[in-house]
């Protein structure tokens, strides 16, 4: 038996019209991020006030670069969906809500790919 609500009952529900799918992505990214965030936070702490060469060498290490990219992907999907839920909770006017959701999506995508691009540039240069 699945914990999932049958699609036929969930379809079309919610302001995003995609409730269960987004719900599952939010949970999946949460699980993935638990070890990754612990690893990343303590790595950055150990790096501390590092100079450019030290920090760049750390990011450029293949294991670190790949894990950082996975974390970035999970983090930006997760925070995008999280902010979407919050906007749906607090913005009630239809058009303002629509505009805010679209704007949030653009900004999140730009920052997410900006982060990924920076990691790739450091790792490949």
């Amino acid at each position: 038996m699945s914990e999932r609500t049958p699609l036929a009952r969930a379809r079309g529900l919610g302001a995003a019209h995609g409730g269960t799918h987004h719900w599952w992505i939010q949970r999946a990214t949460s699980v993935v991020m638990v070890p990754l965030v612990l690893w990343f936070a303590f790595s950055l702490a150990a790096l501390g006030p590092a100079d450019h060469a030290t920090a760049a060498a750390w990011v450029a290490h293949p294991v670190n670069a790949v894990l950082a990219l996975v974390l970035i992907a999970a983090m930006f999907h997760h925070l995008h969906l999280g902010l979407e839920v919050i906007i749906e909770d607090y913005v009630h006017s239809r058009w303002v809500k629509f505009a805010t959701l679209i704007l949030q999506k653009f900004v999140t995508i730009i920052f997410g790919f900006g982060a990924a691009f920076a990691v790739l540039k450091i790792a490949l240069s």
Binding site: E3, S30, A41, V59, L79, G82, F111, I122
Partner: protein, 130 residues
Amino acid sequence: MSERSRPLSPHLLIYRFEWPMLLSITHRFTGVGLAGGAIVLVWWLIALAVGPEYFAYAQAILGSWVGRLLLLGWTWATFYHLCNGIRHLCWDGGWGFELRVARATGVLVVIMSIVLTLAAWLIAYAARGG
């Protein structure tokens, strides 16, 4: 349309304050705070990609007392959201709803978030000294 006259939930004036409510809204606050922190993280990575001079500038800002205060806040927000996030995932799996368990895990989340924050900053200052 009667959209505008609907009450907001939770209706703050008729709810009695309970500690678990504070833990719950803090998950949302830390989530938004971390989204702000993500912007700083992107800026830091881009500074690293731009080159040594701009990176030194970014490190100096983050190393100032204001920078360090913000980083301390983000460290705690990260660990609080992480620990309470695990609590949320357990609830999603159907575990830990009983009042006594939920209270105990709530206390555990607060303690763990402080312990992990202290650990990270001890490591950071050890790295700085060494």
